[in-house]
Symmetry: C2
Subunit: 195 residues, 2 copies
DNA sequence: TAATATTTTGAATGATTGTTCAAGTTCTGG
DNA sequence: CCAGAACTTGAACAATCATTCAAAATATTA
């Protein structure tokens, strides 16, 4: 049984990059061929078809994102500060000139309707992220408050992912975050950053 | 000089529907032909090409949206209540089962990068909406506060447009709005709704 | 109504789409 | 070192893509 001659995860990472920036319809398989260096036959042999490859890309992207958030929250001195750090990362990323929003959000918006499976997958992953926040919040607040605050965080995260596309000064976004999430310990967070 | 035999705005409205739900890449010109009932030749004769038609659809959608917001804000007893009503409309729309998010937001996310003109157009229109909010807010707050609150409203609007795709109970969204925009007169708004 | 300007038609264009497959290559277990 | 399984190759497929255009139809002006 001969083994594949390429690194599967490396290929999927390249697919993530492509699908993330151009979307499902906007990224042709010929582009995938060009970007990965694999021939069409190998691609289909190893990954099935476009939809299956896209799904694997989504899956890996979501997994990376989830574990990154979990790490940020766990390594912070408090849940509140962890969330501050996480949102600050968003703002910073939005400042980069190759800002690509969020793969899950883009997929959700592009493929909604007609019972698309990829859309459902993206929605599921985003819901997982929300419940991750909720779980952490419940360490400090009751269930009800945790629920509405987790929802508020998601609202702001989505907003940032869209808002960031407008190349606004990061300061504007930071101000808006402090406006909308006044219960977070921004002062402690800002002080720690200066040190 | 013979006049066109169709209603231009009617055609553009149909194009808006199609492009809005399927995006630029996802909506083929053959679909536009099917939806509008015009033959390819007529379409190209009257509207130029796909990009030009899309742009006209964007333009009309944005114009309608802007004037709707302006009307909502002007007819309300106060700026704050006007904004409450506007956001409430968003939540309500998100509950509809043919929810399509926002055409401008979807376009921005789909076509970003490579200096796309349609992307730039969408961004411009969204910035117009933000400055409309800011103008109204300046009736009650100073320039700086109006700026950051307008930004916060946009953040929430974008968030709602994305969040709404998850078919969550509307109540969850309403709670999150009250969490994130506590300076708005929600109590007055909710009371008026019950009457 | 004749002459002219405008609009409609729809088959056809060449490019690009996602995908296939028979033939060839490479690897592995015995 | 050989047999057979696993993988690669890349030309080719039918379908669909955005767009064109000469000819026909229709409206307007004179």
């Amino acid at each position: 049984m001969a083994k594949a001659q390429f690194d599967r995860e490396e290929i999927i990472d390249k697919a993530i990059d492509l699908f993330w920036s151009r979307g499902f319809s906007g990224a042709s398989m010929q582009l995938v061929v060009a970007v990965t260096g694999l021939k069409p036959g190998s691609l289909y042999y190893s990954f099935g078809n476009k939809e299956a490859l896209f799904k694997q890309a989504l899956e890996r992207y979501a997994q990376k994102g989830l574990s990154r958030i979990r790490k940020t929250l766990e390594s912070a001195p408090s849940v509140g500060e962890g969330i501050c750090r996480h949102l600050d990362q968003f703002v910073e990323e939005a400042g980069h000139n190759d800002f690509k929003s969020c793969f899950l959000v883009k997929t959700q918006l592009e493929l909604a309707g007609e019972g698309n499976e990829l859309y459902a997958h993206a929605v599921r992953k985003l819901a997982e992220i929300e419940s991750l926040f909720q779980t952490f919040l419940e360490r400090e607040y009751d269930a009800e408050l945790s629920c509405s605050r987790a929802a508020s965080i998601m609202l702001h995260s989505f907003g940032l992912r869209v808002y960031g596309y407008q190349r606004l000064p990061e300061e504007r976004m930071r101000l808006a975050l402090r406006q909308g999430l006044p219960w977070l310990p921004w002062d402690q967070h800002d002080m720690q950053k200066k040190e």
